[in-house]
């Protein structure tokens, strides 16, 4: 059902806080995963059970310190311990769907609460914005209303957000519409009928502005994406190729740690397999005349590509976390897009689509494995 949440004095955040508080007070949900404003200006993802804590909730904070799919995986495991809700962006929901297929989380007993996402800033950029008058929330909502990039010259959105093709959280059970939002009319929300009844919301007609704004956002993002991916592909096909892109990699594994899809607890690259004996390094160096230290950086990246790029949702957490500022996410998106296209697979689209490397059909790629 579509309903509208009333907004008083143009305070959209207060209206959303009140709604989340009611979800807890009514007993519809026992806990909600949502960012809380903490001392020092940070927005800290938290699992909230006390409705009074919702006074600090800020799902509109344009920052994503972690991909929430990882948190929900921890909160649900094989079965959610209670009626848990999670406020998630589209990329978090899509990563979560992949994690469910990888048997690392479940949607049973989980209520996904989604918001239209105009994009997020890197944590330091977000903190800088927080220092400005009003914390930039008014401008952020205005950008969502008009369908423009909320970033400015000095404070740009994360690159993954600038080229995001899924700014709307389509799979969420409860979905707040921020694109084209006119606060004086209230916030349009998609909500399951039974829950609307329990909370006492009645159906309201949808505003027409959103679709046009969403299309404007998508067109801008698509253009950005095409340009950025073409540039990174050109680099990969130029002399030096992919190896040269990862020359600055210090193999810290941050990209793997931040990646919502990379869930393996016993990653090969953190195992003893790569604790080489000293004479291994010497002989490897003698073979090529020199050996990169730390070794196996490109092998790590290529292996990670093989293991997760089919499920890569392009959230860009890897780029955000890279201390060498390598455009890891862009590279993985460029490669992942081709892998996904080969299997006709769109990660995060549906639980019904089997993971491409788990399923198979007998009569496919019959030319593979045969002499040409």
């Amino acid at each position: 059902m579509k309903t509208t949440i009333p907004v008083e004095d143009g305070d959209v955040l207060a209206a959303i806080r009140a709604f989340l508080g009611r979800l807890l007070e009514s007993g519809a949900l026992e806990a909600i995963y949502v960012p809380l404003e903490a001392a020092g200006g940070a927005a800290v993802p938290a699992l909230v059970t006390d409705p009074a804590r919702m006074a600090q909730a800020n799902p509109l904070a344009p920052v994503m310190p972690i991909n929430g799919a990882r948190a929900v995986s921890a909160l649900t495991g094989k079965k959610a311990p209670g009626r848990v809700g999670a406020v998630l962006r589209s990329c978090e929901i899509r990563a979560l769907i992949e994690l469910v297929k990888l048997q690392q989380a479940t949607l049973e007993g989980l209520t996904m609460i989604g918001l239209d996402c105009p994009g997020t800033f890197e944590v330091p950029r977000y903190m800088e914005r927080q220092g400005q008058a009003g914390g930039g929330l008014g401008d952020y909502l205005a950008a969502a209303r008009e369908g423009r990039d909320p970033g400015s010259d000095g404070l740009t959105l994360r690159t993954a957000c600038q080229m995001c093709l899924h700014p709307a959280a389509d799979q969420a059970a409860i979905r707040f519409e921020l694109f084209g939002l006119d606060p004086t009319q209230g916030i349009p929300v998609d909500i399951p009928d039974a829950l609307a009844e329990q909370l006492g919301y009645s159906a309201a007609s949808a505003d027409g502005a959103r679709q046009a704004v969403l299309e404007k956002v998508l067109a801008a993002h698509r253009a950005k994406r095409d340009g950025a991916l073409a540039a990174v592909r050109a680099q990969m096909n130029a002399n030096g190729g992919l190896p040269s892109l990862f020359n600055a990699c210090i193999r810290c594994h941050n990209c793997m740690t931040a990646c919502p899809i990379c869930y393996c607890k016993t990653c090969l690259f953190r195992s003893a397999s790569f604790d080489h004996k000293p004479d291994h390094y010497l002989s490897a160096a003698q073979r090529k005349g020199a050996l990169r230290m730390l070794s196996d950086a490109l092998l790590f990246q290529l292996t990670r590509m093989n293991h997760m790029s089919a499920s890569c949702v392009g959230c860009g957490m890897c780029t955000s976390t890279c201390p060498s500022e390598i455009p890891v996410g862009m590279i993985f998106s460029a490669v992942g897009e081709q892998v996904q296209a080969a299997f006709g697979y769109e990660p995060g689209r549906s639980l019904e689509d089997p993971l491409p490397l788990v399923t198979f059909q007998a009569n496919e790629w019959t030319e593979v494995g045969e002499a040409k």
């Binding site: 990169r292 290529l302 093989n306 089919a310 892998v339 198979f360 007998a362 496919e364 494995g369 045969e370």
Partner: protein, 143 residues
């Protein structure tokens, strides 16, 4: 490095225990001649060959990697080689997209009775790798 005239390609082959490895064994016991450029590693199934095992020799400078498995439908474990096939498709896409040479990685279905096919496959692959020349990562210390 060496010029193409005396360049001897080095090929690492991962062969499934039930088909291709036995086929290679047959090639040997049948005294079939094939180039000595291949180093064979026996695996229980072609689907046990994680891409990391293919990538590692390529990073170290091997000129080619061959994965050998049972013909589709004949997998000792029913469906392993179907999964190998998909993984190989993904690996090829990744190598292609990365600007690395996907022509250095081959997948071939060779059964236990196909000793001749094994010998000729190695011959073909050595010729093809000779054509491609040495793997450039052989000299790239920074990988």
């Amino acid at each position: 490095m060496s010029d193409n005239g005396n360049f001897e390609p080095r090929i690492v082959a991962f062969l499934c225990n039930w088909c291709t490895y036995t086929g290679a064994d047959l090639a040997g016991t049948s005294r079939l001649q094939y180039p000595p450029n291949v180093r064979i590693i026996r695996t229980m199934c072609s689907s046990a060959v994680d891409p990391v095992y293919v990538l590692k020799p390529l990073m170290e400078g091997a000129d080619g990697v061959l994965i050998g498995g049972c013909h589709p439908g004949d997998c000792h474990y029913q469906t392993g080689n179907y999964k190998t096939r998909r993984r190989y498709v993904a690996l090829h896409e990744i190598l292609k997209a990365s600007g690395l040479d996907e022509r250095r990685v081959w997948l071939r279905w060779i059964s236990a009775s196909e000793g001749q096919k094994f010998a000729s496959t190695i011959g073909e692959m050595v010729a093809a790798m000779r054509e491609l020349g040495p793997n450039p990562t052989r000299e790239n210390w920074a990988v």
